[in-house]
Symmetry: C2
Subunit: 419 residues, 2 copies
């Protein structure tokens, strides 16, 4: 071919590091007996705690309803069941089902933005947002610094500053986007902060995009969806990857009460429809609300156990970390062990960990962390594997020395100033 | 929301008429007993002849392999089975599996084109190309007239004229695109014409995109894939919608031997991945080549029977038509019954047919037919339904009068000059 289009080249230059790291680590996975020198993948936020709950389930047969053309934004049956599942009196007509949460984020970003338009994103943020929200839409992500008090909490004030500066610089800002619960930190944003953010979006006449993929994976405290806020211009994304531990099924759901956005999203869904048979599988899984409630309760219980075990190991090795309330990961502070300054130092430590321990954890730079040293540690896989990985990591850091004395205590965050 | 982005608005303004017509007709379908006044949908190219062959098939369970993250351009297992199925020594690494043939066409168009770039498309062409190839990529489709000898055959000379004129006018033409076998005509392009077209593409330094979704649905004569031509810059699209009668599963496949395009296509596939469980279903369906060969042979047999029955009814009612060699449809010439001139007359006849007979057939204008009067008649559904529909259509046209004497004979095409 002649060179790829500029829009394809833009995408190629921002290939998501998370996906690449995942497949490298999965190509030769650790096994205590077979591959004791294999990789331990704590880099991927994949919930592998529920596999046994799906075992024995037989999917529905291939029949007319599960194989014929259906509305390309989701069958009415699946949208009704998702609406009932998510609750809050959702209208199934306000749901757009597409091939994954990535596609849902792309759909809402493309519906809102033309190339060059801005989306403000509080940091640290899910690294794949760079691709999901901007890769095809051509939007530009504008990072907003976190609350300086702990270095990673949501700061509406900071979002406001970025909005204001971008407007002054002539950028057409169209939206604020965030993961709620947060990723990588696994934090549940306080409802008062979310309300402040929604108010800010309304004040600045921009839309609010909330990636709520972990809505059903909150194991510590209550969670309030931004969907329940009165603003019509709040658009939420959910899916079956995390709460139901079905990431391969690529079922993403956009909710919006904005009729114009819904119409645009339905038109865009045409390019990323979800298999009708997979829709039949998911509708079947949601058919019994009692069973679903029990499944999700068990998910929350296992997530908490898994989180606490991982946090305990980090504490035992004197690794500071911010405890999570939701999701698959912990946010660990290895700042004390950086071999050099800045994100170059963080990259160096990351490579050392990979080379010396074969443990894959993702560096904070991949999440636009505002200062180097943070790493996202996923814990939602077999407990023995997590223990092996964190033991390798802990011993490696011990061998390097340099751990701070206070690292032996579990800390809620780093008190070091932002770099 | 503030108004949708310009790129979303462009898409909304070109909403595919075919999909709209489908769901309107399907909302109240004809049933001899229950809904004798219902709609008869001969507008959708959906192969419903094979439903019984899928009955009783039990899909594989939800296990690790069918629910976990997998390469977003298709599992190695499915790509290997598709490669073996399509034959010709395909390298599975040259296949990119995405959520439908539409997504595959969007992927290749976006990889090749920036907004404003041109794709030459011989007419008449599959109407959804306007959305599939141009809706997200921003490419501009440049129609090339058919062979004047019969009014719908492939004319490389005409493609050449459009290429030349577009270049002179300053348009960056990036590709030629066509359906092979053809849609709406169901014609198999003669290999010599395809070779000429491939040579022309090379000469003009443009890529060639072939939508071969009907490759396994040729019931009259041999078929040669453009994939087997030596040119590296031929990119073919295939899927399971037609040959396997599984349109809802949204499994599209792009084949390319161009490493740069493949890399761009893999990056774009990230936005439209196919459910891993559906991939497991399809890999399972392809597992036994003997069973697949028998399935496809039965498909071809049933397509031929269905086609001949529909053609016979058209002939009986004196409706001229071009016999098809492949696919789900016939190309019928109702030019003699147009109530007025031009495509306005065609639209008027279309509305009359809808209102008076509740038969949905799509007007040639939806396929960029170069002169008014042609309609695409799909025949791949229950024979009694097709008979009811064509009887209603035939009687309605009889009631209008105006049929040409020669209409009573089956003709290969219209001898009327282009309008």
């Amino acid at each position: 071919m002649t060179p790829p289009s500029r829009q394809a080249a833009r995408l190629l230059s921002s290939s998501p590091a998370i996906a690449e790291a995942h497949f490298r680590a999965e190509a030769y996975p650790y096994d205590a007996r077979l591959r004791p020198d294999g990789w331990l993948n704590l880099g991927t936020a994949e919930n592998r705690l529920l596999t046994d709950l799906h075992t024995g389930y037989r999917p529905p047969p291939l029949d007319d309803a599960s194989t014929r053309y259906a509305p390309l934004y989701g069958t009415r049956e699946l949208r009704e069941r998702i609406a009932a599942h998510l609750g809050d009196g959702i209208d199934p007509e306000d749901l757009v089902v597409v091939a994954g949460a990535t596609a849902a984020l792309d759909v809402v970003a493309t519906a809102l933005c033309d190339p060059g338009d801005g989306i403000v994103v509080p940091t640290p943020y899910y690294g794949a947002f760079d691709t999901d929200l901007a890769g095809r839409s051509g939007a530009v992500l504008l990072p907003a610094l976190p609350d300086p008090a702990d270095g990673h909490g949501l700061s509406p004030e900071s979002v406001c500053r970025v909005l204001y500066a971008a407007r002054r610089a002539g950028t057409a800002v169209r939206a604020i986007a965030l993961a709620s619960p947060a990723n990588p930190t696994g934090r549940v944003h306080p409802p008062a902060l979310l309300a402040e953010l929604a108010g800010l979006a309304a004040e600045y006449d921009v839309d609010l995009i909330a990636d709520e993929i972990y809505a059903g994976s909150v194991f510590d405290g209550p969670f309030v969806s931004l969907r329940t806020f009165p603003e019509a211009r709040v658009h939420t994304v959910w899916g079956f990857a995390k709460d139901f531990a079905l990431p391969g099924l690529k079922a993403g759901v956009l909710h919006t009460r904005d009729p114009e956005l819904r119409e645009a999203a339905r038109a865009l869904a045409y390019f990323a429809p979800l298999s009708t048979h997979t829709q039949a599988v998911l509708a079947d899984l949601l058919a019994d609300p009692g069973r679903v409630a029990a499944f999700l309760a068990e998910n929350r219980r296992r997530l908490a156990v898994s989180h606490d075990a991982a946090a305990g190991l980090l504490t035992a090795y004197g690794i500071p970390h911010a405890p999570a309330q939701a999701g698959c990961s912990l946010w660990a502070d290895l700042g004390a062990w950086l071999p050099g300054p800045g994100f170059e130092g963080e990259r160096e430590l990351w490579r050392e960990i990979l080379d010396r321990t074969r443990v894959s954890v993702l560096p904070g730079e991949a999440f636009h962390a505002p200062r180097p040293g943070w790493f996202r540690v996923c814990h939602t896989l077999d407990g023995a594997v997590v223990a092996e990985a964190l033991t390798r990591l802990g011993r490696f850091l011990e061998s390097k020395g340099g751990a701070r004395g206070e690292g032996r205590d579990r800390v809620a965050g780093s008190a070091r100033p932002l770099v």
